[in-house]
């Protein structure tokens, strides 16, 4: 999640630590009605989206040109491309696709995001289209 929501390794470390801090503080209110991982996802997503961070001009340019800021070591090139493509999506789309990729069911996704279960499939297929367009722009143009 930190890799998706933040562009530089320093920001990712900051976010990672902040998520841990928020989880630790929110833990007493955890009720075992849902999976711990779903609860953790709710806190982590709220933290990643709620903490506004102003982007520098340089980061914006690099992002638009899809140049990796700092490629993670030992990350498969295909996965790196996927990370970059996802980082261009909106915050809500990032949340949905990361839940999907982490094997959450449509019901759990609807519960974590607070949306209607009927829309999950529709929204996911739109995100897939966007990602395909980002990853294979030449195919999309033809």
């Amino acid at each position: 999640m930190c890799r998706i929501y933040r562009d530089t390794s320093e920001d990712r470390e900051d976010l990672f630590q902040e998520i841990l801090f928020q989880l630790w503080k929110a833990w007493p209110s955890f009720r075992a009605e849902a999976r711990v991982s779903s609860w953790m996802y709710k806190i982590a997503l709220s933290t990643a989206i709620a903490r506004f961070r102003k982007k520098t001009k340089q980061e914006e340019i690099l992002r638009e040109e899809m140049i990796p800021m700092q490629e993670e070591q030992n990350v498969h090139p295909e996965k790196e491309r996927l990370y970059q493509a996802i980082s261009l999506l909106s915050d809500a789309d990032k949340a949905m696709i990361s839940l999907y990729l982490d094997d959450y069911s449509y019901e759990e996704m609807a519960d974590i995001l607070g949306i209607s279960i009927n829309y999950v499939g529709v929204k996911l297929s739109r995100i897939r289209e966007k990602l395909t367009q980002i990853l294979n722009p030449q195919n999309h143009e033809s």
Binding site: I49, K79, L113, I115
Partner: protein, 186 residues
């Protein structure tokens, strides 16, 4: 590319952190979140206390009516309390709400903070200007200059606060609208 292909790429070299790596990361950046915010809140509260000390030891408060002095103390205390409350409000989702509910609460809290900031600017500069000026008779060009400086001080402080919070509110609202378009249960 279909969704399953995306998932296949996602699963490549799944890089989860070990317990030791996590502990190392926490130790390495222990300054970054809570300590940084606590320091900021303490510095701001300290600045307010210092301001009170300067005003009440070096600027002849006895020449003012006790009401003017009390007003300044109350306004500064409000600023300090707000800072301490802001530090306590650092938790973004302590109840484990879903993302839509959490965003709604965040947006509401930030709007309240924005309104408070503007109101506080007006009160703060009224108290400071009142403290310094109500004991002297003002005439000539100063009579017009003072309201100008007063207005500018409020405008500049408010502008910085509004600029900072509005960008954050806009980002949260965008995400909330997208979720609403996906049938968010509000």
């Amino acid at each position: 590319m279909n969704l399953e292909d995306l998932k296949k790429h996602w699963k490549l070299e799944q890089g989860s952190k070990s317990k030791d790596e996590i502990l190392q990361l926490i130790a390495h950046r222990s300054e970054s979140v809570s300590a940084r915010n606590r320091r900021k809140a303490l510095i701001e509260a300290g600045t307010f206390v210092l301001l009170l000390l300067v005003f009440f030891t070096g600027l002849d408060p006895e020449r003012n009516s006790w009401l003017v002095n009390l007003f300044l103390v109350l306004v500064v205390m409000t600023g300090i309390v707000n800072n301490l409350l802001l530090y306590r409000k650092l938790l973004v989702n302590k109840r484990g709400d879903n993302l839509t509910q959490s965003l709604e609460k965040q947006i509401r809290a930030q709007w309240q903070q924005l309104q408070f900031s503007v109101l506080f600017s007006v009160l703060f500069f009224s108290a400071v200007f009142g403290f310094l000026l109500l004991r002297t008779e003002i005439s000539g060009p100063e009579f017009w200059l003072i309201p100008l400086v007063f207005g500018l001080s409020i405008a500049i402080r408010s502008w910085f606060e509004i600029d900072k919070l509005k960008k954050s509110i806009r980002q949260l609202t965008l995400c909330q609208m997208e979720l609403k378009a996906a049938g968010a249960k509000t």
